[in-house]
Symmetry: C2
Subunit: 212 residues, 2 copies
Amino acid sequence: MPKQTFFNLNSSKQNRIIDAAIAEFGAHPYLKTSINRIIKKADISKGSFYQYFNNKKDLYKYVIDQVSDAKMKFLGEKLQNYQQLEFFELLRELFIAGIQFRKNFPRYSEIGDRVLNSSNKDLKNELYAESKPKSNDFFEKLLLKAVQEGKIDPEIDIKFTAFMLTEFSVSIVNYFFETHDTDNVDEIMNYVDKMLYIMKNGIAKGDKNVTN
Amino acid sequence: MPKQTFFNLNSSKQNRIIDAAIAEFGAHPYLKTSINRIIKKADISKGSFYQYFNNKKDLYKYVIDQVSDAKMKFLGEKLQNYQQLEFFELLRELFIAGIQFRKNFPRYSEIGDRVLNSSNKDLKNELYAESKPKSNDFFEKLLLKAVQEGKIDPEIDIKFTAFMLTEFSVSIVNYFFETHDTDNVDEIMNYVDKMLYIMKNGIAKGDKNVTN
DNA sequence: ATATAATGTGACTACAAAGTCATATGACTT
DNA sequence: AAGTCATATGACTTTGTAGTCACATTATAT
């Protein structure tokens, strides 16, 4: 957690610092990020930095939390309208909302991508203590509801399936950026639909008599 | 590529260096790995290092290639009879072999995990110019064959599906190690089977009349 | 035995990072 | 106006890194 001194700052200065941090953490993998560059960009002194934060990780965690909260809030608002949707429909809307978030807050997304692929396992565990479980929990709740409503195969392991959905979601983005150099983020939906198709029907040949 | 001077060394010295490198690259994320530590462990001088390799990345790439080759060779031997196996059976065998490899060569696996999770996109692209497609290609070929044999839904996007399988194969192992602190690697097969079930049938409720 | 080529060495340079601290500046209180 | 407390500063220290190079050692060929 940042120290009290940071929160004492007027919000304009706070934002200047956070913006500089977001830029830095979005531009480099964590281990290559530099406090020196951040303070330069934010136009504060080295000494001040250490009066606001304990160290780089302190700031990093805070920034990640902010971004994660922003996304949750954004998705949460969108989802209010979709309560009545069927599981796969809802999932689809969720991805659309995710893409919208990406469009509206590109800086946030850059840093988010970095975090999701971050390798440093120790750091990752520390950071993800919250945010990945968040997404997992969310999928779990959706799945549970869908099973109860008889929409989803009750045989599945819900925790594991939630995990699978989370990972697939990340993979989709990775795949998109590895195969498309474009900025046309909407095309991601192609892959979302492909993924949903597989999750729904599986890939073994044969028709499924989906019960309603 | 290492310089000729490296290959001129007797294999015992070569191994000493490669072993030190594997230990280092397995123990730290790439950006934190240190040539200094490697030469210390391998008991060679700084000057020698630069007579054998151009830089750290040079060595890194070489090590990754070695590990990747070893794994391919191992899998190839284990799966000699794979031609007559049905797609999902084969996939299962593949995981079993992969887990065996992990058991037999834990050092190799450590470094493999790091690589697969590596965040540095630029580096990743450079490294994977060859080796990632290897695993990807393999899945693609399997899928293609299975589609042709009528075992797999021809509707699916093979490239995309192969990618998802590749990524998830890694995730599943991570998931296991994150949720189970045990060394009983066989339990991973529980999750593999769950994954295969979903990939086969999907999660939507209803029976699938798999055509044979 | 001598000359030549290949290999080995570690002190050194150059650089960038995180973190510290004595001092300066400002703001608020008495 | 004087004194006190919070905040701001940047030069400095320490630590680590990659990479270089003049020289030492060893092996090979003549």
